[in-house]
């Protein structure tokens, strides 16, 4: 069974829910029109089509378009060697879809990462906490409207609300300041 055949089987089972398979560089992608059905589709993929291995889950921010989010699942069958990409859109107002943790347990950290970076929530996830950023961080940094340089924050103790510890220190060069020798702490004269 080739990857394209598995995609057609999926289409035959779920009908209009699944888009026509598209191929790019030998990879087959299908789109699921209703994100709420993702668990049923994944369940079918794993049990009937042999996609036992979830390679990766990624998220896209289609900033300026509606729906804003796309969640991308990369599936693989270790027996057959087939690969399939499932994509589903989630609107910004909702920003939520069901978790597929009941199908593959590896999705646990993937979903936490997407929540952390994009702010898409996964219903039914047992432990939806931030994973790469720290608890209490107020932003979702991979969103397209988050600037590369970061944002200041009013909340104390998080995200650039204080100067970095080295700023103004002996090893930081500021234009117009004293030379490195003069800034060396051991030769500083306390009476100056």
């Amino acid at each position: 069974m080739t990857s394209l055949e598995t995609a057609q089987k999926l289409k035959a089972k779920f009908g209009d829910l699944i888009s026509e398979p598209t191929e790019f560089r030998g990879e087959i992608s299908v789109k699921i029109s209703d994100a709420e059905q993702i668990v049923a589709v994944c369940e079918f993929c794993k049990k009937q089509l042999g996609f036992d291995y979830l390679v990766d889950v990624s998220s896209l921010d289609n900033y300026g378009d509606d729906p804003r989010w796309t969640v991308v699942y990369e599936l693989r069958g270790l027996e057959s060697g087939c690969e399939l990409r499932l994509k589903t859109d989630v609107s910004e107002e909702k920003s939520e879809l069901p978790s597929v943790i009941g199908v593959w347990r590896t999705v646990n950290w993937h979903e936490r990462e997407i929540y952390d970076m994009m702010g898409i929530r996964f219903r039914g996830h047992p432990d939806l906490r931030r994973i790469l950023m720290w608890e209490g961080y107020p932003y979702f940094p991979l969103r397209k409207d988050f600037p590369l340089a970061g944002k200041p924050s009013d909340i104390p103790g998080v995200a650039f609300s204080k100067p970095a510890p080295l700023e103004g220190g002996p090893f930081v060069t500021v234009s117009g300041a004293k030379s490195a020798t003069a800034r060396e702490p051991r030769i500083r004269n306390p009476e100056e």
């Binding site: 990879e27 390679v55 896209l60 270790l78 060697g81 347990r105 950290w109 931030r130 790469l132 991979l142």
Partner: protein, 423 residues
């Protein structure tokens, strides 16, 4: 008169069972122990919150992200070529392999992944295999040191040093190699490089045999590793493990064999697998992988098109002015080359709209890049599937039941690197 006396030492699984059984239930509250983020056995900045019942772990909660640099965000703000140095800093124990993986992913998006010149493919395979040996050597050395065998670390680091020398000869840098370019490599290998690799292989075979003698049948080593942290086949697949951790559980899956890329089709090598899925199996798989990498390197230095000195002037870059930089001579004298050079440096190559995923068999597992392009020289989204991140997610399941002193052993056998896990 002294006589030989038999003593009975139960195996580690039985020791665990005994330890758990002997704990009186009414001892009282459990203790929470914070391990890391700066702890010698966590090899970087991994933090684990351990909940202990006496010496037995009842719950483990790994906490990652201390080395998060936002590589995926950075990638969205620069051209494809500019991101290559950032891949050095993913798995910083095998930068050459990361370079190869990233270049192949972008080439797949460009549709030129099967048009690479054969010499370039061989050079890249040699880089990837040297990186594999280098990463496994560090993993093994640190692993053995955490278990108490310090000598191994000294042996493996001597050999790693030679691999750094080889990387330096090829790319000019020892750690931050940035050797590949989209559509080729930065420059051809120096004329005597293949001889240096041959020399290294000769010396490495001796060192590896020495490590083998020190560890494989060492009673302490075997006792501490065997039957510890067993990962069943189902569990390994369910948790999406990859690389030696997946193969240690007895699953014969290697992207070099199952989805051959570069010139791996033309090379002879075997895929070692474990039988039980314990720490000892993962150790054995890594040892055998290093031997297979030696086999691959041996074949590469003999078969490389153009030979070691490239007398026949085989190209190492794709001959497409819109993807790789033209020769400097042409830039100075010809109009078209000058335009290509200018456009490539300022705007980058034009990657057609679409999305691709490419997985590369890295030392730690499957390093994958998901690239979503909307056309132009900058990726719209670049997702890094880092094997260490996914391999670490199993810790919460693996650790309960083990003892505190087993933690360094389990971590060493999973063999992760935080630069890649946190990105």
């Amino acid at each position: 008169m002294a006589t030989v006396q038999d003593i009975e030492v139960p195996d580690s699984a039985a020791r665990h069972a005994l330890a758990v059984d002997e704990l009186p239930d009414a001892v009282g509250d459990k203790m929470v122990l914070n391990m890391g983020p700066s702890h010698p056995a966590t090899h970087g900045v991994l933090r684990i919150l351990l909940e202990l019942d006496g010496e037995v772990i009842t719950k483990a909660d790994p906490d990652v992200g201390y080395l998060h640099r936002g590589d995926e965000k950075i990638a969205e703000n620069m051209t494809y070529t500019q991101f290559i140095p950032y891949t050095d800093r993913l798995d910083y124990l095998a930068p050459l392999a990361n370079n190869v993986a990233y270049a192949l992913a972008v080439e797949k998006a460009l549709g030129i992944h099967d048009k690479l010149p054969p010499r370039c493919q061989y050079i890249r395979v040699m880089c990837a295999e040297l990186a594999r040996i280098s990463a496994h050597l560090l993993g093994l050395g640190a692993f053995a040191m955490d278990v108490g065998a310090v000598t191994v670390f000294l042996l493996t680091f001597t050999e790693r040093e030679k691999i750094y020398n080889l990387a330096e000869a090829a790319s000019g840098a020892r750690l931050t190699t940035t050797y590949t370019r989209i559509g080729g490599v930065m420059r051809d290998i120096p004329p005597n490089w293949c001889d240096q690799v041959r020399q290294f292989l000769k010396e490495f075979a001796v060192a590896l045999a020495e490590v083998e003698v020190l560890l494989t049948r060492n009673r302490i080593w075997v006792d501490r590793l065997r039957d510890l942290a067993i990962i069943s086949k189902e569990m390994a697949i369910d948790y999406g493990l990859s690389g030696p951790n997946l193969r240690g559980s007895g699953i014969e899956w290697d992207l070099r064999k199952n989805q051959p890329y570069l010139c791996y089709k033309d090379l002879q090598f075997d895929i070692p697998t474990g039988s039980v899925g314990d720490c000892y199996d993962r150790y054995l798989v890594r040892m055998e992988e290093m031997r297979q990498s030696m086999r691959i390197l041996e074949q590469c230095v003999n078969k490389i098109p153009g030979g070691a000195e490239n007398k026949s002037k085989e190209p190492v870059n794709v001959a497409d002015g819109k993807i790789t930089l033209p020769p400097k001579q042409g830039v100075m004298t010809k109009m078209e080359e000058l335009i290509h050079q200018f456009m490539l440096v300022t705007e980058g190559m034009n990657v057609p709209p679409g999305e691709v995923y490419f997985g590369h068999e890295n030392p730690k597992g499957e390093l994958g890049f998901y690239i979503c392009s909307k056309g132009g020289g900058v990726p719209y989204r670049l997702k890094i599937r880092s094997p260490s991140f996914i391999n670490l997610s199993i810790l919460g399941e693996l650790m309960p039941g083990a003892m505190v002193s087993d933690v360094p052993v389990i971590l060493g056998s999973i063999d992760f690197v935080m630069g890649e896990s946190d990105r």
